[in-house]
Symmetry: C3
Subunit: 139 residues, 3 copies
């Protein structure tokens, strides 16, 4: 049984879902671990992780629109706005999605379903560099 750690750096270009399945799968393969548990940790409070359909790009448009309505960028609703009107909504959207995902690994690959893709969900308007720590334990 052994472990590996790695940090994935992801460039974002404003709000939206950025696919990360490929670099995550590639890193798992590079560790040579066949069976184990993979964990992704997003080190931010204004960006999050999610699993979504990887086929139809309109799904991502619908997600973006839904979250705009669920957590509106309406300054009258929030006290905290140090970094602008998208600051507090970004924190809330992060809370409602995931900061962490743990995925079993079998045959050297995370056991994603056919339609499942991994995404970083950027909640800020500006471009950012986001860090996701990857950890795997297994054999």
């Amino acid at each position: 049984m052994r472990q590996e750690l790695h940090t994935l750096h992801v460039r974002t270009h404003g709000k939206g879902l950025v696919p990360i399945t490929r670099p995550v799968i590639d890193w798992v393969a590079s560790t040579g671990i066949g069976t184990g548990l993979l964990t992704l940790w997003c080190r931010h409070t204004s960006a999050s992780l999610t699993v979504q359909e990887n086929a139809d790009p309109t799904v991502r448009e619908d997600i973006a629109r839904y979250f705009e309505a669920l957590v509106p960028e309406d300054p009258s609703r929030y006290i905290h706005d140090d970094e602008g009107p998208d600051d507090m909504p970004a924190h809330l959207r992060t809370m409602l999605t995931n900061t962490q995902l743990s995925i079993p690994v079998a045959d050297g690959c995370p056991v994603l379903g056919t339609w499942q893709g991994l995404y970083l969900f950027e909640h800020r308007r500006m471009a950012h560099r986001r860090d996701i720590v990857l950890h795997i334990i297994g054999a």
Copy 2:
């Protein structure tokens, strides 16, 4: 230290919470692992996992009603509707709940609280067969 993997197949019959605590606990017991970490991964983007009160069945009715209101099946709100009006709401309800749960195991059993039950949350109207991958690592 060792690991085991297993896939739980769950039949659903339209929207709602399906209890899975019993088969999960039974599988953990069958592995013979006393202390460890159990992970559940739902391999779908239209069904999810959740932890909820296991006593009063009206809790499940309230949950169903709440999610109908939180993510309405209103076709005018979504572009993606390949599989009908419950398609995109199913993805969004999945995002707002869990695709994965990891639970410490002590004395051969997941450390659920007295009132905690594990559920598969089906978000589609039609019956489905859902796959949940179980992974345990421990000793």
Copy 3:
């Protein structure tokens, strides 16, 4: 490779976020494990876990207000009210946040980002004692 288990008892005083970063980090340090995976499991269906900004206290006020609006304490909406009008909203707020978090550990410390703090999110009006099971596996 080895494991440790511990239960953290947290006193709450009505609704709101209670910081738990310090006792969690201290316990990880006490295990002497340098690299591994830490898991927190909240054993309740009316309190949850979340990761949030640890700097500006107004963030916590905004979060409290947002969740009051997202899941209103309106008795006409729920059947289940065994323990009062905050009973069912507490379950729903738990579902929308986290019962569990798993965090990679490096150099003897969870890899939290600069602005990330760990919180117990109490959803009931009354004071409670909440149990969070901590599990670490690593070397």
